[in-house]
């Protein structure tokens, strides 16, 4: 036990003395969360809108007022002809142009329908989609008020309610993904690098020739990163709650336990990587390209798994973060318990066990 504590202390010396390592370990989680939380948002606060009114009647005037009074839309330009539209978008000053057809009020009165065109900047599809949605909802409101006033029937209306995240805050989406990403990075990347570094400098040989057992070396390497990763989980959950108001609706203890399990999975992956290569460079490449990229792209962090093509969906199944994300979202946002998450939990357990066994195999193979 004393030998073990000495080993862990040495490992902490390594981490603290290498400024880059320390910066990645402690700076990155905070920085990432603040960046994702503040900078990357799906909601749009200011839609710069141009109006091209070819009708100039009472209804278009009222509708225009209604649009700008919502607070989301900001009048950016009044256009006089269709030719100006392209120029306005090219300059980047405009998010949206609304065109009312000639004789708008008359057609609405006579035929019950009139055309307004909503033009958005398709070079940024996400913004376009959101802006169009906002505009449609304003127009819908306007029509409802109008027909209520006239006493006419409204017809069927769908009222959307976003359960668990009524305001559709994007930080709710990013926090679980970020936890997966940071834990993957710290646990897998850092352990694989720190083990291969000992191989490169030759100190691993020295440790193996000493009376330490291989399993003691591995555990001694892993424990510091387990502790640090756990600190990172607490940091991210704490920041998410206090800075961004992301709740933890389920059991915090369960969330932490599941996070520990995911850390174990990532650590065993890190050990596995270091058992198949002797170079820090290769270990880093494998961790970044083989673990971090899929964690960001294929886990459902940014792109939903359900909308991926089938082969990618199949691949996403072997990515630990995919399962962890389901767990974190369910616990934090939906308040779910282990009863609905046992399948995901078992998958993570199985993965840890698999990589652990594979590394031990690989390790003893080397000694034969």
């Amino acid at each position: 036990m004393k030998r073990f504590i000495g080993f862990v202390r040495k490992e902490f010396f390594h981490i603290m003395r290498d400024r880059r390592t320390a910066a990645i370990l402690f700076g990155m989680p905070v920085l990432q969360l603040l960046l994702f939380g503040f900078a990357i948002r799906n909601e749009i606060s200011e839609v710069r809108t141009g109006i091209l009114d070819l009708s100039h009647d009472v209804v278009t005037k009222k509708l225009t007022d209604k649009i700008f009074s919502s607070g989301t839309f900001v009048a950016s330009a009044v256009l006089n002809s269709g030719k100006e539209i392209g120029k306005a978008f090219a300059s980047g000053k405009m998010n949206e142009v609304i065109v009312f057809e000639p004789g708008f009020a008359g057609k609405l009165q006579r035929d019950g329908t009139a055309q307004m065109q909503v033009i958005t900047d398709g070079s940024d599809p996400n913004v376009s989609r959101i802006v169009t949605g906002y505009t449609e909802s304003v127009v819908r409101d306007f029509l409802r008020e109008k027909s209520n006033a006239a006493g006419a029937p409204v017809g069927v209306e769908a009222v959307p309610v976003m359960k668990f995240n009524p305001a559709l805050k994007s930080v709710y989406l990013f926090v679980p993904g970020l936890m997966a990403m940071i834990l993957m990075l710290v646990s897998a990347l850092m352990t694989s690098i720190s083990i291969t570094r000992e191989k490169e400098t030759g100190t691993m040989e020295l440790l193996l020739v000493s009376s330490l057992k291989p399993i003691q070396i591995i555990v001694g390497k892993v424990v510091p990163y387990l502790l640090l990763s756990f600190v990172n989980v607490l940091t991210v959950v704490g920041l998410a709650f206090f800075v961004f108001g992301v709740p933890c609706r389920g059991s915090l203890a369960l969330l932490l336990a599941e996070s520990l399990l995911f850390i174990m999975t990532a650590l065993s992956l890190g050990i596995f990587i270091s058992s198949i290569t002797n170079s820090q460079q290769v270990a880093m490449m494998i961790s970044l390209a083989g673990l971090l990229m899929p964690t960001v792209l294929l886990s459902g962090f940014i792109f939903p798994v359900a909308s991926m093509p089938l082969p990618l969906q199949a691949i996403s199944n072997i990515i630990p973060a995919r399962w962890y994300l389901v767990i974190v979202r369910a616990i934090m946002l939906k308040g779910a318990g282990i009863a609905v998450l046992w399948k995901e939990t078992l998958v993570l357990m199985f993965m840890s066990l698999l990589f652990m066994t594979a590394s031990v195999r690989k390790f003893s193979e080397r000694l034969q």
Binding site: G6, F7, R9, G202, T203, E205, L206, S210, S211, L212
Partner: protein, 247 residues
Amino acid sequence: MAEQVIHTEKLTKRFGNFTAVDEISFSVSAGEIFGFLGANGAGKTTAMKMLTGLLAPSSGSATVAGFDIYRQTEAIKRNIGYMSQRFSLYDDLTARENIRFFGGIYGLDNATIREKCDRMLHVLDLVKEGNTRLSALPLGWKQKLAFSVALLHEPKLVFLDEPTGGVDPVTRRRFWDLIYQAAANGVTVFVTTHYMDEAEYCDRVSIMVDGKIAALDTPEELKRTFGSATMNELFIQLARPAKRSGQ
């Protein structure tokens, strides 16, 4: 006859069809400085890995420090010291921290470690640098420190794998003073080297060619037998016909 610290009988290691070490048999007595020479790829490292318990032999038998290399590798590891080819203490730790860490690994208690640490720094004339990170020290000093750390747990036998690579002749000579001192204290030294002047410093020398031991005797006797003026000449004479060379 002195106690035999290493004794091998037809020790062999095969990797698939390749026989890295081919039936080598030799003995090393207590307190002896034994030079283990051979060109790159001759099988030195593989032989050394078997003797230190890192690699299981394919056939043959051997005892190290009185323990069997098949069944008692843990006991062997406790009774040997090891210093490898490349400098292998932790560069980002200070001299004191390195000594403390390796002392801890070998299960020494804190009081013993502290006492040994002070004595060692004093002997190596590193008292002032005790709290300096190793990355700031010259290679020669680090090698001396690594050697002392390998002797920290007072092993009967110490393996040195090209311990003096990359330093000047004066520093190498000083390193050998340490080796003589250890041998005088009864520690058996098993050393590999590519420097033929160092081979002359050994009590006995073996030269490995293609996995076999081609010659084994005192440096003087070897030179007389093969009619060579220097160890260098002798080494080239023996190693040149080798079928395997380089790595």
